[in-house]
């Protein structure tokens, strides 16, 4: 069989048609996503020169990233904020997803989900800024508490700091946590819960032994979808922290654009992604028992 007829046959086959159809999107993603990511990966092992990147192989950028105290502490801070945001968001979101799935009439579920998603679609920047207003030194909470005489001077524990980041991000990612959990809860066969109670368990014990384990895939999806993007948040530290408490994204910006040390910036970006991937995989590995046999 000649190459041409083989090609013609492949084009006509299912695999060929599928590839042809997906190719515009795939080529776009390869050119504008895969290639740039590969470039970052390449830059991270090259040497920084004046205004240019020297094609000289080095692990120096990674050594700098992992040994320099400043970079390390920023990375740890970002990781800490991400973990805190993830835990807080998922914990707060679960009961909401549970309520909508189990206690809302089927005809009204869409409306509740709609209500939950609306705030998410309004300007992210303005929302972040308003959290600064709410949590700030002269903010809504402090002035409210002072006006009612509960405190005498403004609380500083909630203003312009890491705690404020966590609250702001927990708000921003709320729908990302609620929706996957909700979807999984919806799929649970309600007769399983009746079976649980029929076998002598209380409602609460049935929740612990049946509902919760079955909803683990949703929780896992929620955790990953919140955890991974938050580590790269740029706006919150900038607007709420006034740029004084940088996180990874802010540091990458400085290195890449202000100090023009692209290889070091690339190494930090790659390291951040590596940490995120490692933590995510570790998380999935820990809960693998509950993910098995479900999809």
């Amino acid at each position: 069989m000649s190459l041409a007829t083989r090609w013609a046959r492949f084009r006509k086959s299912e695999g060929g048609s599928g590839l042809a159809l997906v190719s515009p999107t795939a080529i776009y993603a390869i050119l504008l996503l895969a290639a740039p990511l590969a470039t970052i990966l390449l830059f991270s092992v090259l040497t920084d020169g004046y205004l240019v990147v020297e094609p000289v192989f080095t692990f120096g950028n990674y050594i700098e990233t992992w040994t320099n105290r400043i970079y390390r502490s920023v990375m740890m801070r970002s990781l800490g904020v991400s973990v805190a945001v993830t835990v807080l968001t998922v914990l707060l979101a679960y009961p909401v997803a549970y309520f909508v799935s189990f206690h809302v009439q089927p005809s009204k579920k869409s409306l509740w989900l709609f209500l939950i998603t609306i705030p998410f679609w309004t300007s992210y920047l303005i929302r972040v800024f308003l959290w600064k207003v709410i949590l700030g030194y002269n903010g809504v909470i402090n002035s409210g508490l002072m006006a009612t005489g509960i405190i005498d001077e403004p609380l500083t524990a909630i203003s312009y700091n890491v705690q404020a980041f966590v609250v702001t991000l927990a708000h921003a990612y709320a729908p990302f946590a609620i929706l996957p959990i909700y979807v999984v809860l919806e799929k649970i066969d309600r007769s399983l819960l009746e079976a649980g109670q029929d076998l002598g368990e209380s409602k609460f014990r049935t929740f612990l032994r049946v509902t919760l384990p079955l909803s683990v895939p949703g929780i896992a999806a929620a955790v990953l979808i919140v955890f991974i993007p938050t580590i790269g948040d740029y706006v919150t530290p900038n607007l709420i922290g006034g740029g004084k408490i940088p996180m990874i994204a802010n540091m990458i910006e400085v290195l890449m654009l202000v100090r023009d040390n692209k290889p070091l910036g690339a190494a930090i970006a790659v390291s951040a992604m590596a940490i995120v991937t490692a933590v995510s995989l570790l998380f999935l590995f820990t809960i693998r028992k509950y993910l098995r046999g479900q999809k």
């Binding site: 776009y28 579920k109 679609w121 929302r127 709410i134 979808i225 993007p229 790269g232 994204a249 970006a269």
Partner: protein, 268 residues
């Protein structure tokens, strides 16, 4: 009577979700340059100030161009990918779709920086065009997700039936598939539009001297005197988003009613 703990909790959570949005109009109509309580009086001057700002209109126009182009392109790419993934098996399917969906979980900063590095290296000047390139990248996964569910609810035998009744592959697509996934296409367009309109990081780093609305807003936050006008602008935007979302939700539900499927709710 049992206390509906969950219901009370959920309502409390909704208050948490809506807190910033509820404050927005308060400050937008508040007669004070300082964004803080107590409120001092009613005014519409911030709306007037916002309306008079030419820079705002300019960046708004840019945003519309970017969001319009990005949503159309992302939805077109989404149709290709969703159709391919629901209808065909092909070599490397998981990898290719994984790459297309990757921006969903990739921090935007990484997407922006890697694109910036390459664009600068290739020598593409930063402009609205480069923002569109980036926005298509991050909107496509959403389009693919929405359209995949639209294509999935399509019974394969409907296509075969049309084909069997004498239609060609193209006329089958036009007469059967397109009308049935149209609600999905419209909601994909609207959602991609909303995401692009709101997106900041890519617009900020890839825009060069051109500003979109979100970059303009970010810039204004540096000047406390300009903030009340931003509150006014925010109020207008919230109303606009709610309108767009309601339309999107309407089309989504109509699509479900049309194909007779069960409503599973939600966009994602």
């Amino acid at each position: 009577m049992k206390i509906p703990v969950l219901r009370i909790y959920t309502i409390g959570y909704l208050i948490f979700l809506y807190a910033p949005i509820l404050l927005l109009p308060l400050f937008a109509f508040n007669d004070s340059k300082v964004i803080a309580f107590p409120l001092s009086g009613f005014t519409t001057q911030w709306f007037a100030q916002m309306w008079a700002d030419e820079q705002m209109f300019n960046s708004f126009k840019n945003s519309l161009i970017v969001a319009g182009s990005a949503s159309v392109l992302a939805t077109t790419f989404g149709v290709f990918a969703a159709r391919a993934s629901t209808r065909y098996n092909f070599p490397g399917k998981a990898g290719i779709l994984g790459l297309i969906m990757l921006p969903l979980v990739l921090p935007e900063m990484i997407v922006a920086m890697s694109l910036l590095v390459v664009l600068l290296a290739v020598g593409v000047p930063l402009s609205i065009f480069t923002i569109i390139l980036g926005h298509v990248l991050i909107c496509t996964p959403f389009a693919v997700a929405i359209l995949t569910s639209a294509f999935q609810s399509l019974d394969r035998s409907l296509e075969e039936a049309a084909y069997d009744l004498g239609e060609t592959a193209w006329s089958t697509f036009r007469l059967i598939i397109l009308p049935l996934v149209m609600p999905g296409i419209i909601s994909s367009l609207l959602i991609a539009f909303t995401i692009s309109l709101d997106e900041f990081i890519i617009a900020f780093f890839l825009g060069g001297n051109e500003t979109t609305l979100s970059v303009y807003i970010f810039g204004q936050f540096r000047f406390p005197a300009k903030v009340p006008a931003i509150m006014a602008l925010g109020t207008v935007l919230v109303c606009l988003s709610i309108c767009l979302l309601t339309i999107a939700e309407y089309f989504r539900r109509r699509g479900i009613a049309k194909t007779g499927a069960k409503d599973t709710g939600g966009f994602l």
